[in-house]
Symmetry: C2
Subunit: 473 residues, 2 copies
């Protein structure tokens, strides 16, 4: 057994200990899931800019294909083709309000990943856990293909493929494939596949459950098999375009269409693409024959194909938009899959919120009016009506509301407001509001970035493992 | 002034202090010599293999375009497009005999470069200075384009373009353009342009002086100008081929023609090239329409064009061979420039030694018989006769010998023996004698190498400077 295989076994063991109450053995899902040679086939890389604290520490880990930005400390972990993006970490001197308590950070926040195995994940944002301020930690955790870990400290967890844990501290939890949780804190919970769960304290609780007969078509996970389904196929079919992008050393600035936009050197831009002001196209985003209106963004693992985004559109990590027109100020949540076609195009009005993990796989043309929430599984007009609500109506909800597979309880007004604030924050953070040198965001601050490429030991039993690397100013 | 410009001024000052007895101001030769933007245009990179101690430390330095292998510690220096190749450094436990004294190294030897500015240099081999064992140090030194620093600790020196300091500790010396010294130790000396000087204690002393009217055609250096001349033009004309090689991320092993050969991923291989067993083609070597016979090698900055190397040919750093046939077991020394042409081809017999810094720029066909030493400036048969001696005759020399611009004194036998031993050592070190898994050298040990690419700060006044990077196992 090579060192990297030993390390994976160690992580399996540590994760299993944490999950023992579920009698869960994660081994058969994970063992051999990455062909061994892939651990030394792909370089890892880290970014340096003037705007992010410079501190990287990599120890006793495999990092193949992964990207790191900001203050990252990786120890005894296998981080495979994963983006660890610390560009919103809190800084020394930042003051955090938690109710009546104010704490000022004494040190820049860091992302600390230990004894964990992350596969094609997106790790972004800062910790929302006030109990361990200044550390966005992931420990004893295994997270499968295309999962998003967003401001979510994790300890002893197993995340299925395309799972998203958003602003949630989770201890000893299993999050099933394509499940989405944004619930603040989770302890010893098992969240089933395709559950979309958003809870804000006592204010509201939103749950949508994907039909179990539908989900496997899009994503499924079985023991001793690669994850499969349409979402995996979709991405794999387009992998070749990324080889070209990752295979070239790209000097200097991000590719600039306009002075205020940033297009990552590690994004695929294909066909006839128009990029407006203040647009952010992150690495591993894929844009083909589309228009990105002013302030629109495409985050990591987004695919935008044959589409027109009118402006200030947030396409959250892993969102996919095909043959669609998206009105201004719209939000497409994590891992949403919106697939129109020439025969069945999708038109989304202004100010709409496509909830995270929504699948719209159209069999007829569909137009969504302005200011609507949509969720769940939508193939046609009828599905749409069962899986949507206008904001005007949502605001009026107080108490319980059940529609199809969705159950809501609490204050509709608080729910709508929470989304509006979050979208506004994302646009601001991404630099969509940049004007006359003010209100810079990722689009502007990520323009001047250096990438350093690192490779593992090339042979022997350390093959695929990286040496101890420390980068400081 | 940006930080990197400040650093260069600091190095100019430190070098000038060391050279004050010569009233030398190196500033006008160095200031602005590298266009500012080049400091952030090219990545630096370091290699990792199983065969070399892994320890890199980069601090407060600019490293654009440079390569590092082995134990390197770089501090407050500008290392520009320079290869620092520590693949022959001494290791902990190695015992060094200096006369009757034996010392065992307590630590792996390192290359330590401090307060120095090296431009397109080749730094290779271990320190031959027994007074500072275990450290191959370069301090307060400026070294110009394509200079070779070969096992030669330097302190307070200025090396002109295409100078070579070989196995020589030099303190407070100026080595002129295209000068070659291999003399053990030098203190407060000024070696003029085009002087080729090889001395071994009391055994022998060889000096050749290039005619001052000839040298500027090939290389010259003036204040406030880029170095110029045919040698510079020759290299610059072929630079475009290297852009392609350096612009591609190249995964995995060295390019392999045969199992026992190593062709660096950073070499240019162009046209119809044949590579024999045990061949070593180092990075920044350029091979075009040529045959590299078994055990032949091309070291850094070598150009081999339209030529046939029959086998076990050493082409030392910076050697250039055009339209030539080189017989077996031949040596072409540092920076030698052998330019035949279709009309005036060069044929060199077996076992010949082309001395370092020889220029053969033929105006008629020339055939050099087996077992000859050649040196100096050769354009035709007449020049050859004035600038060569058969080994048979050289062995007989005892005392003084003057031929043209060459003066020899001492034991010819010792001189011939010293070269034979050195060539044999180089072939062995390079792996030319590899057979059945035994006698590995650089050709075999450099096959599995990882390259890590690093870039400097991309903007602000630190632009072009690298952060503090430490790499250990």
């Amino acid at each position: 057994m090579t060192k990297i295989e030993e390390l994976i076994e160690l992580i399996i063991g540590r994760t299993n200990i944490n999950l023992r109450e579920f009698s869960m053995d994660v081994g058969p899902y994970v063992r051999g899931i990455i062909p061994k040679k892939h651990f030394w086939k792909f370089y890892a890389f880290y970014g340096m800019t003037q705007h992010h604290p410079l501190s990287f520490s990599f120890q006793r880990s495999g990092l193949a294909g992964s990207f790191f930005l900001g203050y990252c400390d990786i120890d005894r972990s296998v981080i495979y083709k994963t983006d660890v993006r610390g560009d919103e970490l809190k800084l020394e001197g930042d003051t955090i309000d938690v109710g009546d308590i104010q704490i000022t950070l004494q040190k820049d926040e860091k992302i600390y990943i230990k004894d964990s195995f992350l596969i094609k994940n997106l790790v972004h944002n800062y910790s929302h856990d006030p109990e361990d301020l200044g550390e966005f930690g992931i420990r004893n955790t295994i997270s499968m293909h295309y999962a998003n870990i967003h401001g979510s400290p994790l300890r002893g967890c197993f995340l299925g493929p395309y799972a998203t844990v958003d602003l949630t501290t989770a201890h000893d939890c299993v999050i099933g494939e394509f499940a989405y949780v944004q619930v603040g804190e989770l302890n010893h919970e098992l969240v089933g596949p395709g559950e979309v769960w958003i809870r804000s304290g006592e204010d509201f609780d939103f749950v949508y459950q994907f039909p179990t007969e539908i989900l496997p078509k899009y994503i499924q996970m079985n023991k001793e098999e690669q994850p499969s389904g349409l979402l995996i196929d979709f991405v794999e079919q387009r992998q070749g375009d990324f080889w070209e992008v990752f295979g070239r050393v790209q000097f200097g600035q991000a590719r600039l269409m306009l002075e205020s936009a940033a297009v990552s050197r590690y994004a695929v831009i294909k066909g006839d693409v128009h990029i407006g002001e203040n647009v952010l196209i992150a690495q591993r985003a894929y844009i083909e024959d589309s228009t990105m209106g002013k302030g629109a963004n495409a985050q990591e693992n987004c695919y935008i194909i044959d589409s027109h985004l009118m402006g200030n559109n947030v396409t959250a990590h892993g969102g996919k938009v095909i043959h669609a027109t998206l009105g201004e100020d719209g939000f497409v949540g994590f891992n949403a899959f919106l697939r129109g076609s020439e025969k069945s195009p999708l038109t989304v009005g202004k100010n709409c919120v496509v909830m995270p993990h929504t699948i719209m796989d159209l069999e007829e043309p569909l137009t969504i009016p302005d200011a609507h929430f949509v969720w769940g599984y939508i193939r046609n007009q009828k599905d749409f009506e069962e899986n949507s609500l206008s904001m005007e109506d949502f605001i009026k909800v107080e108490g319980d509301l059940a529609m199809g597979n969705m159950h809501f309880s609490g204050s509709g007004r608080a729910f709508v407001k929470a989304f509006a604030q979050r979208i506004d924050h994302i646009l601001e953070a991404n630099g969509a509001y940049f004007q006359a040198g003010e209100q810079s965001g990722h689009a502007q601050m990520g323009r001047n970035i250096s990438y350093n490429l690192i490779e593992p030991y090339p042979e022997g039993d350390m093959r695929g493992m990286y040496p101890t690397i420390s980068i400081t100013p």
